[in-house]
């Protein structure tokens, strides 16, 4: 069967439009695959149980009421201290200014930015990271064979190549990291997901586990996933849109107000409400300066013809 024919039959099947003959044709195609060999018969006992357990573990994490297998993996109690984080946020709300905390905890260096603050950091190897607002970057003080940093939030990395080709690794979770030689890229791990946009060079994403999948990105590509790295989506994008923030502006291109709101929440700690939900579907294009929040909001309001009123960290969008 030809590809187009198959797709045609499948579309019809969905809409219930197949004639009895067409339905039989599709059925015959489906059945014809029964002759192919069974995948699992070629697996060793160990491989078989690895597959069986892997899927079952994922099913259990997806089916929440059954048990609580999830997860605090890693040293959450160590360097990343929610109490301190909350205190920083609180201070911001009260004082209304960006702050950052620099501290050493158990030999780990932790750099944080407040809402709306961007900051350029130089790492021990000379690599440069621009941290966007409300982000945390940390690494071991005695940084030896592997250059490894951990990121919550968003950062733009310019990684220098070392003479001995040491790997540079950015980890955003126990199930996701990426490895770099020398390169420039933007990475963000926020509530709604993780996103990597590559400007230059080459990075390798490590999905899940050491023996798990890897994915090599080329310049101009973006990879994103919500929760599970294996459910990633890869696409080609205009990379500039995703890293404009480091040059103190935001560039939108058919970006919905919903996405804009999510960004305002992540980076500036501003919560958006819309008087009519469909307002959030409105798309905007254009460039807005981020040097100060008021101007940023004005720019967004202008571009989308809405009125934005601000009360502390609450925003209300109404049609103009």
């Amino acid at each position: 069967m030809e590809k187009d024919r198959l797709l045609y039959l499948l579309e019809n099947d969905k809409k219930g439009l197949n004639s009895p003959e067409e339905a039989a044709e599709l059925e015959a195609w489906y059945r014809s695959a029964d002759h192919r060999p069974a995948f699992t018969e070629g697996l060793s006992v160990e491989g078989l149980s690895a597959l069986e357990d892997k899927m079952f573990a994922r099913i259990l994490t997806e089916a929440p009421e059954r048990t609580e297998p999830v997860v605090p993996l890693g040293n959450t109690a160590g360097w990343f201290n929610w109490g301190k984080m909350a205190a920083a946020i609180l201070l911001l709300v009260v004082a209304g200014i960006g702050i950052y905390v620099f501290q050493r905890q158990g030999g780990r260096i932790v750099e944080r930015t407040g809402f709306g603050e961007t900051r350029v950091l130089t790492l021990p190897d000379g690599s440069e990271v621009t941290l966007n607002g409300n982000s945390v970057l940390s690494y071991d003080a005695g940084w030896s064979e592997m250059r490894e940093v951990r990121l919550e939030g968003e950062g733009y990395f310019k990684v220098v190549h070392t003479a001995d080709h040491r790997k540079f690794r950015v980890r955003t979770g126990d199930d996701f990291s990426l490895d770099v030689l020398g390169t420039q890229f933007n990475i963000s791990k926020r509530e709604r997901g993780t996103r990597i946009v590559l400007d230059e060079g080459k990075v390798q994403c490590n999905l899940g586990s050491p023996a798990g999948d890897t994915l090599v990105l080329r310049p101009g590509e973006m990879v994103q996933f919500r929760k599970t790295p294996a459910d990633y989506r890869r696409e080609r994008v205009e990379t500039g849109l995703y890293s404009a923030w480091k040059d103190h502006k935001l560039v939108f291109k058919n970006t919905s107000l919903r996405e804009v709101s999510a960004m305002l929440q992540d980076t500036y700690g501003l919560e958006t409400e819309a008087s009519q939900p469909e307002l959030l579907d409105r798309q905007i294009s254009g460039s807005v300066p981020t040097d100060n929040v008021e101007l940023l909001l004005e720019g967004i309001a202008e571009a989308s013809s809405v009125t934005i009123t601000r009360d502390g960290d609450q925003l209300m969008m109404t049609p103009k």
Binding site: M1, E2, K3, L6, L7, L10, E11, D13, K14, Y30, A33, D34, H35, R36, P37, A38, F39, T40, E41, G42, L43, S44, E46, G47, L48, S49, A50, L51, E52, D53, K54, M55, F56, A57, R58, I59, L60, T61, E62, A63, E65, R66, T67, P69, V70, V71, L73, G74, D174, D175, G208, S209, P210, A211, G212, D213, A230, D231
Partner: protein
């Protein structure tokens, strides 16, 4: 029987159903998709769905027919949504036999198994022994205690330590970590 138990929220019945059907479903999916990740996704969704909807589920046919019907539905959707990359259409439509995908994808699971096995081998001997008797030979703690001539609470402690070490070593194996936790539910 299993179905009735499932509908009352019996987790063991759910595990038993999974164990009974996953392999045939996976093979049926793989024959038509030829991509292991997509197949994993489909099987996971079918069972997650089965669990989530267990109370409201009306199965007019047999459970088996229901599962294979759900499988077909997911496969059609997967192909329609073009998640199956263009290049695979050729295989999907023409290749009669086993292509190189089979080999590569099998290798993936063998490596996965190897990583877990390596961590088990690195356990201190006593812990490894207890661990293997429990997980591989499916002995109960009491049976292990008798066989090894040690008190039951020592077996429990050693298992606890073994799991803790494996969990540390396999930190990056989110799935393996979870499996270690739930293995008791799923002997």
């Amino acid at each position: 029987m299993l179905l009735a138990r499932l509908q009352t929220g019996d987790g063991d019945a759910f595990a038993a159903l999974y164990r009974k059907y996953w392999r045939r479903l996976f093979d049926a999916a793989y024959r038509r998709i030829l991509l292991r990740e997509e197949c994993e996704e489909i099987i996971q969704e079918i069972f997650t769905d089965l669990w989530t909807k267990r109370e409201t589920l009306l199965i007019s046919v047999s459970l088996e027919a229901y599962l294979f019907g759900a499988l077909r539905y997911s496969i059609y959707n997967m192909i329609r949504s073009r998640k199956v990359r263009e290049a695979y259409f050729d295989y999907l439509l023409q290749m009669p036999g086993e292509d190189s995908n089979y080999i590569e994808d099998r290798l993936h699971y063998e490596e996965l198994a190897l990583a877990l096995e390596n961590s088990i081998q690195k356990l201190p001997e006593k812990l490894r022994k207890v661990y293997q008797l429990s997980r591989k030979e499916h002995l109960t703690y009491k049976e292990i205690a008798e066989q090894e001539n040690i008190p039951v609470d020592t077996v429990e402690k050693q298992m606890g330590r073994a799991l803790k070490i494996l969990r540390e070593n396999l930190k990056e194996f989110a799935w393996a970590w979870i499996v270690l936790e739930i293995w008791d539910l799923y002997p």
